[in-house]
Symmetry: C2
Subunit: 158 residues, 2 copies
DNA sequence: TTCGATGCAAACAATTTGCACCGGC
DNA sequence: GCCGGTGCAAATTGTTTGCATCGAA
């Protein structure tokens, strides 16, 4: 935890920024919720617990700054809210999302399935991949069960 | 063109909606710009040429409706604007995006590289894929050239 | 005392909604 | 006359910005 904060502190300082108490509180919230995809508003409310005087604008500014430094990744699931994920070495951005169009659940695949494709991009398109994003929309196993219960075929094609 | 409109008309009618002049004008704009990723505002301005009295809200409502019927695909590149792509049989949603973080250019790969992955999802996760989205962020060949001109190594790793 | 960083409120941009109205069934 | 569909304006939501102020170097 503390080492991670130190590392981020150094990243900030190497670009001429400081790790202010507000920024630290924000980073801590992100660290404590590495698994989640928090929106700025989410972060704001969590940060308020430990630093009640902080303003929403500061949270936005901090997240934007961290995003520029590639400390966090700003992602967007199309629901109109930007979400921010820490980019630690351990929690690589190498995971994909399964979004259920029926119940809205979001599962994750914590593996990177795109290695071969990225190599192909480099070779065929001379495009150097820094990041990627892969989401699937569809019907999750839970809803398929539910559908089967109700109509006996669960929306299967034939 | 006209057949495509007819088809969409039927999709609307089968769900109890009608193809009003405004909706038709909107659909025509989408058909005429199948290759682009138009924002609602873009569509609005183009529709205004053929139906000046139309309101922005109607365009939004129409796009939302078409999106629900899966006639168009609502996508989001993270720039804060939703974009809408027609989903005809020919222009399948089977393409991916290469977004350059340096110059902002967006290239497309007009192939589907995910077939095998989707099969795996069905088998391993019991998840039925209806749609997917794959974007890569990185450095495009143009910027790599430019970078090479300037510093002689173009950001290559070693 | 300088300058980055902050909090607050106002400004903004994209999108949605309330409501009166219009036109076909 | 009912009701879906529309235009307009107002409301909402997520985010950014202007500005006076604060605090460490």
């Amino acid at each position: 935890m503390e080492e991670k904060i130190d590392k981020i502190k150094q990243q900030l300082q190497s670009h001429g920024y400081k790790l202010t108490p507000q920024r630290e509180a924000t980073v801590r919230v992100l660290l404590e919720n590495e698994e989640d995809h928090l929106s700025a508003e989410d972060v704001f409310m969590l940060v308020k617990d430990k630093a009640p005087e902080i303003g929403l604008a500061t949270v936005y500014r901090t997240l934007e700054l961290l995003s520029e430094l590639h400390v966090v990744e700003k992602i967007n699931f199309g629901d109109g809210v930007a979400r921010y994920d820490l980019r630690t070495d351990t929690t690589k951005h190498h995971h994909h999302h399964l979004i259920c169009v029926q119940c809205g659940a979001m599962d994750e695949i914590r593996e990177d399935w795109l290695g071969p494709l990225e190599e192909r991009l480099e070779k065929e398109f001379n495009f150097t991949v820094l990041d990627h994003r892969l989401d699937f929309q569809g019907i999750c196993y839970r809803c398929k069960d539910k559908n089967n219960d109700q109509n006996g075929n669960g929306g299967k094609k034939s």
